[in-house]
Subunit: 591 residues, 2 copies
């Protein structure tokens, strides 16, 4: 008769197999334990309380781990217990594999914490005189079957840590990547301090999150202007700057790295983390940013047929990336999907788990350029538009990022006045993307601007607040940007034989977040007229996707797999684009 395994607090009874590992039996029952060290009895994260049943005494290592956590002797490591008879166990919540939310808005989704970087404490005794094994082989023996590899640098850090950690008597902490590669070794027990970075490389702004890889928690977030803006506001101006000029391309790379390293520095300082404690960064950027970041020429992105150098790339050595994190670390670049549909979009799709999400949907990223992905059944098609950076406040006379003082909301005020809200409630300094859309829609409603985008009284600019106005050129920028996005959506739908009512959902990514006034966006024709409940604002999904890839190997693999199967719809198809674009220039609702 099979042994019965009773699981508390749920009270479920399971028929177990004699000799089976308790961790395996629980996994079969759908109870995922935290097996951080891969079930090797090294990390001490899968302790369960044995409520009934007898077990052979725990080994020395297991007793030491229990002592460190001050657990009573009837707490046992599930990965060490073989089932030999009836058992009743209670699973502490802390021993369950944590699930991490991905997006703070728009979509509820989570994944199991499964980072590529893991730190595990070990005590490595001195090799025996009669059979003196190599130091690294003693480490390898703790991870049987993995074929652990190490570079000379990693071996040097092993020797150093082993000596500093007190040699045979002391302990060391190994830093593993993907369970296969020894990145580094630290003296003593530092297993609780494992950190990673999620980086969003936007054309206008760069954003970074410092993430605790053990707890799966974001410790700090920071955003800054991409210092490359001095080479031009939109992505084409950056590409043009670097075209055929390796020295300039290198300058663009350095400027971008300066922005990123400044972010990293401030995140580390506010969190009390040293840069060398960060062993992995996941970078999600548009194609041009990904290329510039890696020091790859962007020349092939500058002229037709506009192609990338790479889509996917293997993990890059941190020491070669220029990022100020551990030189032993790795940098993961979210794959570019197509020429101008980059890693920011693949990461964004990862954030919503696009592959498994049912129905037809449109994914719109209103960053510096408008990138669009259409899911039709199980088929994905992507395209990019030349929307420019108007919605990020660039190329607008009074434009600014959504930082304190930026008008982010505008509505009718008293009489002809405009009621504005600013970020942080500060006196208005300028206008950011959502404010811009509100203001243009308001002007349109008030008849100050014609549907053709003409300010009715050419002598007058559109007043916003004290000393802040929208000029005719500003209105034209909004008009061109909205038309580019609209044309892109229409061509994608047309290519797939779909129309707006066929869409089950519309995901709107970008810094806009939920501050975008849907009615106004639709009035300008930026978004099609769909039922509001179909629209999901998902915020900076590029950063969220990068974080998901940082915290979960499975998410990372899924993102790579998606990159391999996405199609591309080129907007550069001459007359069809031209006529749709001209038609789209008019500010009006559409569906």
């Amino acid at each position: 008769m099979s042994p019965i395994l009773k699981i508390l607090p749920d009270g479920i009874d399971l028929a177990a197999t004699e000799g089976e590992g308790l961790d395996d039996a629980l996994a079969k029952a759908g109870i995922p334990l935290s097996l951080y060290c891969g079930g090797r009895g090294l990390c001490g994260k899968c302790f369960v309380e044995i409520v009934r049943g007898t077990l052979p005494e725990a080994g020395e290592d297991e007793r030491a781990l229990a002592a460190r956590r001050r657990l009573a002797p009837h707490f046992r490591l599930a990965c060490r217990v073989r089932i030999a008879g009836d058992l009743a166990v209670r699973i502490p919540a802390s021993s369950l594999l944590p699930r991490m939310p991905v997006l703070s808005q728009g979509v509820e989704r989570s994944f199991a914490l499964d980072p590529a970087v893991r730190k595990i404490r070990l005590a490595i005794p001195s090799p025996a005189l009669t059979e003196p094994q190599a130091l690294f082989d003693l480490v390898r023996a703790r991870f049987p079957g993995e074929g652990l590899t190490a570079s000379p640098d990693a071996l040097r850090s092993l020797v150093r840590a082993w000596a500093e950690g007190g040699g045979p008597a002391g302990e060391i902490t190994v830093v593993l990547h993907g369970g296969r590669e020894l990145l580094a070794v630290e003296p003593g027990d530092t297993a609780d301090r494992a950190f990673g970075l999620a980086l969003d490389l936007g054309t206008t702004t760069v954003a970074a999150e410092l993430v605790d890889l053990v707890a799966g928690r974001v410790m700090a977030t920071a955003t800054a202007l991409n210092a490359q803006v001095k080479f031009g506001a939109d992505v084409m101006s950056r590409i043009t700057a670097a075209f055929g000029d390796p020295a300039r391309a290198e300058e663009l790379r350095r400027v971008l790295l300066d922005s990123l390293n400044a972010l990293i520095g401030s995140l580390c300082e506010s969190s009390g983390v040293a840069g060398r404690e960060i062993y992995e960064a996941v970078v999600a950027g548009n194609t041009a940013m990904n290329h510039l970041f890696l020091g790859l020429p962007v020349d092939t992105l500058a002229v037709a047929p506009y192609f990338a150098v790479f889509s996917s790339i293997a993990p890059v050595q941190a020491s070669e990336s220029g990022l100020k994190i551990s030189s032993a670390g790795k940098v993961i670049v979210a794959p570019n999907l197509k020429s101008f549909v980059g890693g920011d979009i693949s990461a964004g799709l990862a954030a919503i788990d696009a592959v498994h999400r049912p129905g037809n949907f449109l994914f719109i990223d209103l960053g510096t350029n408008g990138e669009l992905v259409l899911k039709n059944g199980s088929k994905f098609t992507a395209t990019s538009t030349a929307a420019g950076p108007a919605f990020e406040g660039m190329a607008i006379s009074c434009g600014m990022l959504a930082v304190p003082g930026a008008v982010f909301k505008a509505a009718d005020g008293k009489g002809t006045a405009v009621a504005v809200e600013t970020v942080g409630g500060e006196p208005p300094q300028g206008v950011c993307g959502t404010g811009l859309i509100d203001l243009v829609a308001l002007a349109l409603r008030r008849g100050l601007v014609s549907p053709q985008g003409q300010i009715r009284d050419p002598s007058k600019a559109i007043p916003v607040a004290d000393g802040i106005v929208l000029t005719q050129k500003d209105i034209r920028e909004v008009q061109l940007a909205a038309a580019a996005v609209k044309t892109g959506i229409r061509m994608l739908l047309e290519a797939e034989g779909l129309s707006i009512p066929d869409l089950d959902e519309v995901y709107v990514a970008g810094a806009f977040g939920s501050y975008l006034d849907l009615g106004n966006a639709m009035a300008l024709g930026l978004l099609p007229l769909v039922a509001r409940e179909k629209i999901r604002f998902i915020g900076n999904s590029s950063l969220a996707g990068a974080r998901a890839m940082l915290l979960s190997m499975a998410e990372r693999e899924r993102c790579e797999a998606l990159a391999g199967r996405i199609g591309h719809e080129s907007l550069a198809r001459g007359s069809a684009f031209q006529s749709l674009f001209v038609d789209a220039l008019e500010f009006r609702e559409w569906s």
Copy 2:
């Protein structure tokens, strides 16, 4: 009915399967074709003559490859042909997978040419405007199923070569490692120029071979003194020099690299090869040399329990190795077996295919130290002795390497004279290892030296030639070295319960080559008294093994596998060693 495949010139008839690839059908029949590009129709090495039978017309790529080699249209690429009916084919010798000999003496052995580095010419068209794939994806598509990876550096070289090679119209040559990693890309067709290095890092001498990886041919060989000798003649003095002194260890590394890079420079110059055309080096050195070469501390080798930092290590980036070969290349380090039994021995065992060689045998490497491996049935046991560098001419007053002017042979001359032979027939300058053994054995026979190693007339040194004598200290050095080797052999045999008659073969590796006079070596007790036909001189098997690992991935894997299963017999077992050693000090035959 199955189609019949007739193979000429042998005239064998095979029953083939319809739809089967001709390359597969031939492989099944034990006819290994040269499928350098992995059967992808890219390299043009598997052309066979279709003598009878009809085939669909060749594709454009295949016709282009045939045209390059000026082959008639009935020559077809076996990897492109699917068998649809009866066929008669003639296999040109040039289309067969070449087999490479390993050792020039002692053992006849060969392996199939299967290098890790392969260069393949490709023509990459411009991406299409409607579906602009990334440049690297176009390369990857030529190697389906491999999941080819590339570093940013490799991608940079891809873009550069593609542009320089004339873009879409031209051709490029990709350099692959292990079929999985793109190392670099060169413009134009350079597929015939793929080179590798085999390096033997000896304590006294370093040796290098420049190898043509396409033809499997050694192009040039060079040997030089390891410039580290200024830190001491034997390996312990090097370890002592570096012990606890990272700056000194780094100096030792640089000095070693200088020696190696000088060798590389001279090999390249004499062969008309540029260092950047060398994409792989296989390094076989003793444990200390391997550590110093990789910049790893040797401190754990300096004191009991004497252990290494690593046994096996993953391929090292050439750019980090300090070797002046392509910075995109890889350096493979032959695995250390045990503390002082290093990569020179694992490579030596690979050279004789020790795992598959039947019977019991002893492997003796008489380099700077005496390393010993005993195979007992299927079990391997290794040990190292502290023989010192006497047999390499070090620590001997008139000692020198086996270079022109070195006495390498000595016998009775007229009366009391000694007849000597020197390397190159030059006037005697000093004595090398084999000469030393001959001279001491001769002095022993003539009664000038007692079996206890005492010069009978203490006032007289042993005369060799004009101005060259052996001193009492020189005799002691030989006595100690021979006793160390003898003790090692006896302890290994004892531990395994074997005696000398149980040995089927004795392999003697080292620079000695076949110049060692067996009778003299046995008279001194350096080698046990076994039948001469059991003894095989295999020369520098470390270098030969490194070359085998360079030219064959299978040889490399076999060497790694052996390293994982070898046992160790420590000689540091106190009184047993002492008493055997004291006994071994007497010059006499033993069995």
